[in-house]
Symmetry: C2
């Protein structure tokens, strides 16, 4: 059934393994940035700024009270208790525009403009008013130092200042800041259109019943959702069979792709045609790497008709770990940002054996034992076990040749993003 093929297994015997960081750097170097578009800020959640965002307004525009209380002159409250006359009220949205004189106080609420002449706020907890109305006597029992509880103009931001640099991922809090600063729109990078292609003769589509030797193509569903969770737009390229040209055909049927991600077809098995397809597409930026990582050794980086391609391994857990390690930063890079897969130091709940030459990404659960947060590796780490990955909330990252670790020793932990 299969034609004779050159013996790849011999030439691939014990090749040098590429460190993860080097592979990632090489992949990112091949990726262009997407075009920019102007978006209303209220539709910009999850987009990345293409340009610095510059404040239009100064905040606060004038000195304002940080507390509910009374605006006074510090010179009037040198001994306690002391009595002042409340002459007016200044509230956020209802500023009082007069000037405060000796022995006078103005009732203020948080955010209210400080009246001319006042230099101090006494908080209402330190004041006994005769009544909550103007032209009554108030008794100040104590006061903080002059200037306390006053927010000077420009404390937060100043008009003309860069408030958010290019490359910032627009979070809710970043959008709140930009809107407060007088902005209504921003220049952001378009979401990359990422074609997702699964490869393999053994795959059937979701909803079909697999026959003998067949499995459902779940990696494509995973990757489409993963790509969406990373802020990109997923384009379903279907399933490419294990025949020459199938990958090229699938990619060429789609339009306007910024990136192609394949899954499967990157082992050294001789059934894999992606590498030869890439070679025949006339591009020369082809890499077929064995990465010093587990799971996920084989990885392809190349481009097809000028579109960058990342080929992930086909075992579901390898696909997912490589997506986190390579695809998530790739998508962030294409919009001019960085994807932080932050690592935290955490004590092991159990012992771990010495590690070999591959960087290990161990599926694990952050857990609490006797009130202390610990990291518990899943007992089985087979790269075909999707159930273990789905229930994991973190990965332990062990560098190559990490010595054996005892329970209680600290290891590096990546909490898995909620939606990835």
């Amino acid at each position: 059934m299969m034609p004779n093929r050159p013996d790849e297994s011999k030439s691939d015997k014990k090749p040098p393994l590429l460190p993860v960081d080097q592979a990632l750097a090489a992949i990112l170097a091949l990726l262009p940035q997407t075009n920019t578009i102007t978006k209303p800020l209220d539709k910009a959640l999850g987009f990345t700024l293409a340009d610095d965002l510059v404040a239009v307004l100064t905040l606060p525009p004038q000195a304002v009270s940080a507390m509910d209380g009374y605006a006074i002159r510090a010179a009037d409250v040198t001994s306690f208790p002391c009595k002042l006359t409340r002459i007016a009220e200044s509230a956020a949205g209802h500023p009082w525009t007069g000037k405060i004189g000796a022995g006078q106080a103005v009732r203020v609420f948080t955010g209210a403009a400080i009246p001319d002449g006042a230099d101090t706020i006494v908080i209402q907890e330190d004041v006994d008013p005769v009544a909550e109305q103007d032209n009554v006597e108030i008794t100040v029992r104590s006061a903080e130092i002059a200037g306390r509880y006053i927010r000077p103009a420009g404390l937060d931001i100043t008009a003309g200042q860069v408030i958010l640099p290019a490359g910032t991922l627009l979070s809710a809090r970043a959008i709140g800041l930009a809107i407060a600063a007088g902005l209504t729109q921003a220049s952001v990078r378009l979401r990359p259109r990422v074609g997702v292609l699964s490869t393999g003769d053994e795959l059937v589509s979701p909803g079909e019943l697999p026959g003998p030797g067949q499995i459902i193509s779940s990696n494509a569903s995973f990757l489409a959702n993963f790509v969406t969770a990373c802020g990109a737009e997923a384009v379903d390229l279907g399933i490419a069979r294990d025949v020459p040209g199938a990958m090229l055909d699938a990619v060429r049927r789609a339009s306007n792709l910024d990136l192609v991600v394949t899954t499967g077809g990157a082992s050294v098995g001789t059934h894999d045609h992606i590498v030869s397809d890439l070679g025949s597409s006339g591009q020369n930026a082809l890499h077929f790497w064995k990465i010093a990582m587990r799971p996920g050794k084989p990885l392809i980086s190349g481009n097809v008709d000028g579109i960058p391609l990342v080929g992930l391994p086909g075992n579901p857990v390898s696909t997912a770990v490589c997506a986190l390690v390579f695809l998530r930063p790739a998508i962030a890079h294409m919009v001019g940002g960085t994807a932080s897969l932050r690592q935290f130091s955490m004590p092991l709940a159990v012992d771990l054996d010495v590690n070999d030459q591959r960087q290990d990404y161990i599926r694990a659960q952050i857990t609490t034992k006797d009130g202390v947060q610990m990291i518990m590796p899943a007992p089985r780490q087979d790269s075909s076990m999707m159930s273990v990955l789905a229930m994991a909330n973190a990965l332990i990252v062990r560098p190559p040749f990490d010595p054996a670790k005892a329970a209680g020793e600290f290891v590096s932990v990546i909490p898995l993003p909620d939606l990835c």
Copy 2:
């Protein structure tokens, strides 16, 4: 301009402060769950399972190879090197259905069904074949123990097994698992419709130029995006002015709300009408709390016409921190899940003073100093400073009365969710 009002400041003097955990528990207790809906799994990213998800298929359905290599009988490879005859090939999607006999080997690739009669895989790195074709001699140089590199049927999941329990947030990896298990849809809870109302006479809408004493209503934009980032649907209720009934009117104009979130109007200032509006709506589950936290002391929990309401403070940073601490878990609770704001232990980059009676949420940056990850508090912590919050990537959480801490001592850190 303002009518006389009872003196709230006297009666509110030094009230007991409610611990954060108690306030959160009280809020969650008032929240019903949303209705369920059946969603196709490929549209279900970010939804939460209403029911357990049960596997339709067993995975793998039969024993398969975990590696590229040769399927053999362990009894045939007791000394090395030894010679066998390759009689066939079994690949994922192309199973070989014969039975292997003494001295025979079948070429297998990762995921291929193990032929009848074989009990061991030798990896291709340990084999020298005469050629990559059937009916040739292969030389096995060494082999692992019997059963190695074979994935037994059901290693990952078994038909009928609960693979994802109710309450699971559907991540890309969870969806991948469910699709692999033969499912195409799931029962999930509807996204809560969350009405966002900002209150205050000082507010103008985004795009308007603020006059004297006015500021742009940025909290509503923040909250709408925050709510979206938490997987809910934001409904803009506009700005309620500081007059009796304005909040009620705004809520009653909207339809099918599951939750109302207000911002501002929860200080002890006498301009605040939300509490009295809630009282007049005939509901009795009204709480006006002072929470033992900073920022964000004042908080309202109640309901309006039967719709739960959470009233957040008006300072933007107080709004954001209270949204993380109360609103995010509230939304997760309404879909039957939990929102993990995981805390990590991390050394301080600088000294911190003793804390007072309020739980402190300090805006901070996770940073690296001399190769060690540390947490650096922002130098100013004023609750009006949106710029500090927007550039923060974490909060330090200090319990009430936490003693002074020196640089290098460990504190509890919440990394801020990327989109919140």
